[in-house]
Structure formats: structure tokens, C-alpha cells
């Protein structure tokens, strides 16, 4: 994601008259109607009980009801694992086409494909992975016939935790590639030459110069990946048929029919999710800003 959106310019233009604000009114009306109002509705709803009075009970139940706690636990686990694994894999991939010095055409191919892959989520991705790692999938068959390794015998299933993580990885690490490539580009060659001239070896350069600069960006991007995975619904639903107890699927069930038997709880569930996403995004932009300072 481009930090320039987040940091913006520090404009010193004189304060415009109120008439100037008219130009952006349609946009604001749209945003209020279709973005703000729904969010506020959920926000208020989470503090309301069935008779319409204010209550903190819904928030408390978020932390005490077992179904909800389990759902959050699984969601967080999947998001953490795919953020970490996707982050590392994506970083190494981005590294290979930037600092790693692979030819330029390979780099643009990788960037294009990363753009495609980070978009290829949801139902088609689930089908693709069933064709790959399902019981009669392509890779499963290769592993069985060539390597004599029956993964399903050893308890693996595409429809469980590991399977879902592997599927999520498909759109997680491309996102990392797209975010880290510009950051890695920003590593100035002069720094490496200076370090080498001062007697450092490759490893020391990386540990003491490059990584400290990149670390906030890497961390921030992983947090972005975390949020990305946390909010995913269609892929999980298409793969597990709504059986996996994660927060998004629980919210989906709540929308269709009041499975929690408490509308307010549904709203607070949604709010909890929004807060987690907001915190991730906040951390991401903060950390990106930090790295930006060095890489300008």
C-alpha cells in the first residue's frame, strides 16, 4: 500500500470559504449514507439490549461466551499464522527480485502475478485448492504416487486449519510482495557500500543497517496481512461450507438468522472485528510512516 496516501502533504493553503466545501458534498453524503451510517448502526447496536436500553452486557458476553471466544481464537490463529508465513515468504520473494538481483522481466512478471493472485480470493480460489490439495487433488496424487506420502492418511485435511492457512497464503504473500518491493527498492546501495568500506561483512550489513530500517515496514505489512486474513469470509465459506468456527462466518450466520439469540451480541461481534481491523490498519500506517523516513 502506498504510504503517500496516509502521510499526505502538509498543505499550507489558506482556509477556503465554506462554498468550496460544496464540491465535496456529494462524496460526503455518499460516505455518510453507505459507510458511516451502517458502521454507526452496528456501533450503537452493540450497546443496546433487546428492549432498546443501553447495556454493556453485549460487550461483556464477547469475552465470556464460549462460541464467540472460540471463534475469535481460531480467527486470530489463522490470521497470525498466515501473516507470519505469508510475510516471510513474501519478503523473501520481494527480496529475490529487488536486492537479490534477478533480471527485470522476472520482476515485472512477479509484480503482475502478485496483483492477480492477491485478487484471486473467494470461491474460485477454494475450488482451485480443492483441485490441488483435495483428497483427489493434483498434489495429493503426486505425493502419493511419486513420493509415497499419503497426506490424508497422516491426518491432513484441506478443510481444517492447515488447509485453510495454505489456501489463505495464496493471497497473503502476494500482498506482502506488492508492499515490500517498493520498500526494498528504497534501500540505498550507498549504505551497503559504506558499510562494506567500513569493514562490515554482508551479514553485519543486514543485521545492523538494512533490517533495522526495514523492520517497521515488514512488521507493519505483516499486521496488514493479519487484518486482511481476519476479514476474509468468502474463501473460508466456499472451502468449509460455513463449518469453520471463525468470526466472519459466525457474523454471516448471525445475519441470516439470529444464531446467537441476541441481536446486540451480533453487533458487538461485528464491532470487535472492526476494532481489530482498525488497530491493524493503524499500526500498519504508523510503522510504514516510520520506514518512509529512511527510504525517502
Amino acid at each position: 500500500m502506498d504510504n503517500k496516501i496516509l502521510t499526505g502533504h502538509l498543505a499550507k493553503a489558506p482556509r477556503s470559504s465554506w462554498k468550496a466545501w460544496l464540491g465535496v458534498v456529494p462524496f460526503f453524503i455518499f460516505a455518510i449514507l453507505f459507510l458511516l451510517l451502517p458502521s454507526v448502526r452496528l456501533f450503537i447496536g452493540s450497546f443496546t439490549d433487546n428492549s432498546g436500553k443501553f447495556t454493556l452486557e453485549n460487550i461483556i458476553q464477547l469475552f465470556t461466551q464460549k462460541t464467540i471466544l472460540d471463534a475469535y481464537k481460531v480467527s486470530i490463529q489463522i490470521s497470525a499464522v498466515t501473516a507470519l508465513a505469508g510475510g516471510i515468504f513474501g519478503f523473501m520473494l520481494a527480496y529475490s527480485v529487488t536486492v537479490g538481483g534477478l533480471p527485470k522481466p522476472l520482476r515485472s512478471a512477479l509484480i503482475t502475478f502478485s496483483g492477480v493472485a492477491s485478487n484471486f480470493a473467494g470461491v474460485p480460489l477454494a475450488f482451485a485448492f480443492v483441485a490441488t490439495l483435495g483428497r483427489t487433488g493434483f498434489i495429493t496424487a503426486i505425493l502419493k504416487n511419486v513420493f509415497h506420502l499419503n497426506i490424508y492418511q497422516s491426518g491432513f485435511t484441506l478443510y481444517g486449519f492447515i488447509g485453510l492457512c495454505l489456501t489463505y497464503m495464496y493471497f497473503q504473500f502476494p500482498l506482502m510482495v506488492l508492499v515490500m518491493a517498493p520498500a526494498l527498492d528504497g534501500l540505498k546501495k550507498e549504505w551497503k557500500e559504506a558499510a562494506l568500506n567500513l569493514g562490515a561483512n554482508n551479514l553485519q550489513y543486514w543485521l545492523k543497517v538494512a533490517m533495522p530500517v526495514l523492520l517497521p515496514s515488514i512488521l507493519g505489512s505483516m499486521i496488514l496481512l493479519f487484518g486482511n486474513s481476519f476479514g476474509a469470509y468468502a474463501t473460508a465459506y466456499a472451502l468449509t461450507g460455513g463449518q469453520l468456527p471463525i468470526v466472519t462466518i459466525l457474523i454471516g450466520a448471525q445475519i441470516r438468522g439470529d444464531v446467537l439469540h441476541n441481536p446486540g451480541l451480533g453487533y458487538s461481534l461485528a464491532m470487535g472485528m472492526v476494532i481489530i481491523m482498525a488497530v491493524s490498519l493503524g499500526f500498519y500506517s504508523w510503522l510504514q510512516g516510520w520506514t518512509e523516513r529512511w527510504l525517502k
Binding site: 502506498d2 496516509l6 499526505g8 502533504h9 498543505a11 493553503a13 477556503s16 468550496a20 465535496v24 456529494p26 462524496f27 460516505a31 453507505f34 459507510l35 451510517l37 451502517p38 458502521s39 448502526r41 452496528l42 515468504f89 523473501m92 520473494l93 527480496y95 529475490s96 538481483g101 515485472s108 509484480i111 503482475t112 502475478f113 502478485s114 496483483g115 492477491s118 485478487n119 484471486f120 480470493a121 473467494g122 470461491v123 474460485p124 480460489l125 475450488f127 482451485a128 483441485a131 490441488t132 487433488g137 493434483f138 497464503m169 495464496y170 497473503q172 500482498l175 510482495v177 486482511n228 486474513s229 476479514g231 465459506y237 466472519t248 457474523i251 445475519i255 472485528m273 472492526v274 490498519l281
Partner: protein, 277 residues
């Protein structure tokens, strides 16, 4: 060690990760393709594709999704271009708020958005302290539901559309263009349609293609709002058939690749990212 051998040493690891990455990208797609060609027992054929494209329901839902995508793109452009232009030209202090708003869709994923939209718009929207209805309950009639889903899609695509247009306007000096046009006596309407829009064509194309990719495959808003779009159709197909969904999935991938490829071409390698759905 000199720099050349150092470079060679790094390259081996680079190649390793690169090849691993390529494998991860390509294998699932290859598996899907292979599976989709196996509909006829023991024969490689395009039967799955024939069967999939022969289904009238496919054309109904796919064309409906395209219709929704086009409407989304049009309204989105009408909303975003003047706003981005205005901010750049006359209202720099609104930039922060607007950018914050365009980031909100990252924080409010589709499932939450549809939750809020349904809960609010299944009731009429009244002016506070009165019973005057500004908006009737949108979910109660088909056109209303269409309005809702298009609005939802605009929200989902907002970050990308706005960012694309904003970047496009940055590279084209809108201030000078406007002044020149005004000096020649053009009014605001002419300026925006005849001067600004053509110059941000690339950005618009980029944003439009991304929006298209998002809308056509979208499942969440479509299925919860009960709209007969392509996403729910594909999901349903997967419940009942094996080969046709694989064929359609591969086709979807090709379409997405085409869209992204065009974006790459016109923007010269910037690329854009979207999140998970």
C-alpha cells in the same frame, strides 16, 4: 570477496525463493486447468467448458454481474473524479478526511458492511425527531436492493478508485490545465468532462478494471442481499457439479489476469493490490 561473486551467491537463494513462489502461484491454477479438462472419462476435452457456457443461468448471472460492475464504475467515477479534482484544486484541507474515508473500507470488511447495510436499510430512514421518510426501506424492493448493492460495491472499490484517480491527477498538473481552460472561457462542466477526464484516462481505466475484477467475483454482498449475481451462482455450481466449477474458476482467473495485465500495461508497472474477499 568482490561484488560480482557476492552477487552470484545471493542469486542462488534468490532463484530458490523465486522458483518456490512461481510454483505456489502456478500449481493451483494448473491443477484447476487439468481437472477442468477431465470431464469426459479418460479423455482430455473441453466438455466442462462447453457445459458451463451452455447453462443459461450462467449467462443470466454473469451478465447481471457485468451490469452491476458497469453501474458501479460509472457512479464511482462520477463520485470520485470531481471530489479528487476539487480537493487537489480548491480544498487541500479536506484531503485528510477524504483519505481517511477511503481507508475505512479496509477496516470495515464486506461481511460487516453488508451486516450494517441490511440492518439500516430494511427500515426507512427518517429525519431525526420527525417521521418524515427520506429513504424508504431499500431492501423491500428490487430496485432498492440494486441500489444498495451498487453502493456497497462502490464502497468496496473506493480505496482503489480514489487512489488511482488521485495518483493520476498528481502526475497531470490539474492546476495549470484548469487555469488554461478557464482562460479560454470554459465552464466547470466542460473543464471536468473535456479537459480533466481525458487526461486521467489511464487512472480511470486502472480503477475501472480493478472495480470490475472485484464486482464480478463478489459473493458476500450478493448472497446476503439476495441478488442473482455470478459469485453466488459459482458457489452453488460447486455444490452440485465438479468439472464445470473448475472450468469457470479457471476462466475467472484468466479474466482477472487480463484485467491486471492491462492495468500493468497502462500504468507502466505500478500494479495495485486488493485484499481478501
Amino acid at each position: 570477496m568482490n561484488l560480482i561473486s557476492k552477487a552470484r551467491k545471493i542469486s542462488i537463494w534468490s532463484w530458490f525463493w523465486f522458483i518456490l513462489g512461481v510454483l505456489y502461484y502456478v500449481l493451483p491454477l494448473y491443477a484447476t486447468l487439468v481437472f477442468s479438462l477431465q470431464m469426459e472419462r479418460g479423455v482430455v476435452s473441453f466438455k466442462a467448458y462447453e457445459s458451463a457456457f451452455a447453462d443459461p443461468e450462467f449467462w443470466r448471472t454473469f451478465s447481471y454481474s457485468i451490469f452491476l460492475a458497469v453501474m458501479t464504475i460509472i457512479v464511482s467515477i462520477t463520485l470520485v473524479v470531481p471530489t479528487a479534482y476539487w480537493i487537489r484544486l480548491k480544498l487541500p484541507e479536506a484531503r485528510r478526511i477524504v483519505e481517511f474515508i477511503t481507508l475505512m473500507p479496509f477496516v470495515v470488511p464486506a461481511i460487516i458492511l453488508v451486516f450494517g447495510l441490511i440492518r439500516i436499510y430494511s427500515f426507512p430512514v427518517v429525519i431525526p425527531f420527525t417521521s418524515i421518510q427520506i429513504i424508504p426501506p431499500l431492501t423491500n424492493f428490487k430496485v432498492g436492493t440494486n441500489i444498495l448493492i451498487i453502493a456497497g460495491y462502490i464502497v468496496l472499490g473506493l480505496p482503489y478508485m480514489y487512489r488511482s484517480v488521485d495518483t493520476g491527477m498528481r502526475t497531470v498538473d490539474v492546476r495549470t490545465l484548469t487555469e488554461a481552460a478557464q482562460a479560454m472561457g470554459a465552464n466547470w462542466g466542460t473543464i471536468i468532462t473535456k479537459v480533466i477526464l481525458p487526461n486521467v484516462r489511464t487512472a480511470l481505466l486502472s480503477g475501472a478494471l480493478l472495480t470490475f475484477a472485484i464486482v464480478v467475483g463478489e459473493v458476500i454482498l450478493a448472497s446476503f442481499l439476495g441478488v442473482p449475481a455470478f459469485g453466488p451462482y459459482l458457489f452453488l455450481l460447486g455444490q452440485h457439479r465438479a468439472y464445470e466449477p473448475a472450468a469457470l474458476s479457471f476462466t475467472t482467473f484468466l479474466l482477472t489476469w487480463a484485467a491486471m495485465g492491462i492495468i500493468q500495461l497502462v500504468t507502466g508497472g505500478q500494479g495495485q493490490t486488493t485484499g481478501a474477499h
